[in-house]
Amino acid sequence: MTELTASADRRRLFALLSPAYLWLTLAVFLPLSAMLFFSFLTDLPQDNPDWSATFDNYARFLTNPTYAILMWKSVKLGLMVTLGCVLIGYPCALVLARTIKGRARETLFLLVILPFWSNSLVRIFSWAIVLRGNGMLEHALNWLLPFELRLELMFTTHAVVIGLIHSYLPYVILTSYLALQAIDDDLVDAARSMGASKLTILRRILLPLSLPGLLAGAVLVFVPVVGSFMEPRILGGRMGTYYGTLIEDQFVSVYNWPLGAALSFTLLAVVLLILACASPILGKART
């Protein structure tokens, strides 16, 4: 790597970096700052010239319990989905990284993460078709079972949780798998040769060494789930009011943008707090 000495180098570096970072500034960092600013206004300057500064938008969060209740509901949803993803995904990553070998492993890994990169909205929509009353799942179960079964899953919290786990499960599998397959085989062999049982190997070697990857996956699931609104809307029906849908409403139907900005920013503060707490773990997982 070249040390920056000549001014020509400095100019070249600036030319290479500035377009991308100017773009990010214009499209991400300035908007986030603007949102903070607007969250302290009574009206948008372009709508009402008589706008003034206020703390009301944040005060509403404290005086009206609805907002805090919905925030807690979203955090609970995040915890539930994260726990589900970890419990289902980690064993899967374990099998993929430690049991299956060679080309089969590569193919299966690709199959697991492929849906993650495909359209999330369409995948949520596909669950609407499977879960709806008289839908595919009920047909399949009634065909298998001797008795009539009504699941009535659609438009419940369960439907939202199932859809979100389906959306974010590959994240946990991806990060856990990368951590697990980096563990030296000799370490496991050595433990086995000294008589360690499979459970001991998992508890004393594999789990501690892959924990950063697992936790990174958990954070990467939790954060977007707390801010989800499309999944609860489609799968949750009347049960699907969450903090995310509340924010969506302020922008697309109630048109109270300053309040929406304050709600968005409160969510961002919660998210940043979580990311800050997790950043030592995330840093470790990247190596």
Partner: protein, 261 residues
């Protein structure tokens, strides 16, 4: 537990998860070929929903707009991202770590927050809603993916090759064109494919930034689902998922993103 039972249970678990991941998508695809508009069984093969979709001007124009936006996003994000990656890789300077960390917010902050912030800001500075706003947003979301992918490829690049070329009299443009770019080409292609996928599949940011009646495909589908959907939506959704899976499959072939190769 016996020696052979545990791996068997593990494999069954893995296949159960694959079933969970793919079954709903396959059901949706199957229903797009079912003649009944109410998803009724028995299954009766028909392509009427695809025909109806092909005659639906709203869906077609949204599809065209989505592909167009994704192509512009790919070009811009790949060019800017590749340049930034080369800069980040080639030079050592104060603040480099900060620049790497700045790539994190567009990925890590929920799109709901980023999207609404963009909406507020773009209105304040006069860009407003519409296709240009959507493209600005998509490029910003795609940039970190391009930079990460290209940087990963660059890390296997031997910088002395550049010095060798320069010592033999090549100027920096020639070095870039004949030495550096050919080496990182697979990473650039993969980064471009990621950028296309990010834009083509993007719903949240497009939803807040697109003009009503001027929406992208995912936004159109969301609106249609909430109004009560028809198998036409299955048909277009099936096409979308096939396209995006194909793109991602290609991207993983070109990059080392998919693990240990």
């Amino acid at each position: 537990m016996s020696r052979s039972l545990l791996p068997l249970i593990g494999k069954l678990w893995l296949f159960a998860i694959l079933f969970f991941l793919y079954a709903p998508i396959l059901v949706m695809a199957a229903m797009s070929f079912n003649a009944s508009p109410f998803y009724q069984l028995p299954f009766e093969l028909s392509t009427r929903w695809y025909q109806q979709m092909a005659g639906n001007g709203q869906i077609l124009s949204a599809a065209l707009r989505s592909v167009g936006i994704a192509m512009v996003t790919t070009l811009v994000a790949t060019a800017l991202g590749t340049a930034a990656s080369i800069g980040l890789f080639r030079y050592d300077f104060a603040g480099k770590k900060v620049l790497m960390v700045l790539l994190f917010p567009p990925i890590a902050i929920p799109w709901l927050i980023t999207g609404t912030a963009m909406l507020i800001f773009f209105f304040a500075i006069g860009i407003g809603r519409g296709t240009p706003a959507v493209i600005i947003g998509h490029v910003a979301l795609a940039l970190p993916y391009v930079i990460v992918t290209v940087t990963a490829r660059l890390s296997s690049f031997d910088i002395t090759l550049e010095e060798a070329a320069r010592s033999m009299g090549a100027n920096s443009w020639t070095v870039l064109r004949r030495v550096t770019l050919p080496w990182i080409a697979p990473g650039v292609v993969a980064g471009g494919l990621f950028a296309f996928a990010v834009s083509f599949d993007q719903f949240v940011v497009s939803y807040f930034l697109s003009e009503p009646g001027d929406s992208t495909l995912p936004v159109l589908i969301y609106t249609a689902i909430r109004k009560g959907f028809t198998p036409e939506i299955n048909a277009i959704s099936t096409i979308i998922i096939a396209v995006s899976m194909l793109i991602m499959f290609l991207a993983t072939r070109y990059s080392r993103f998919a693990g240990d190769r």
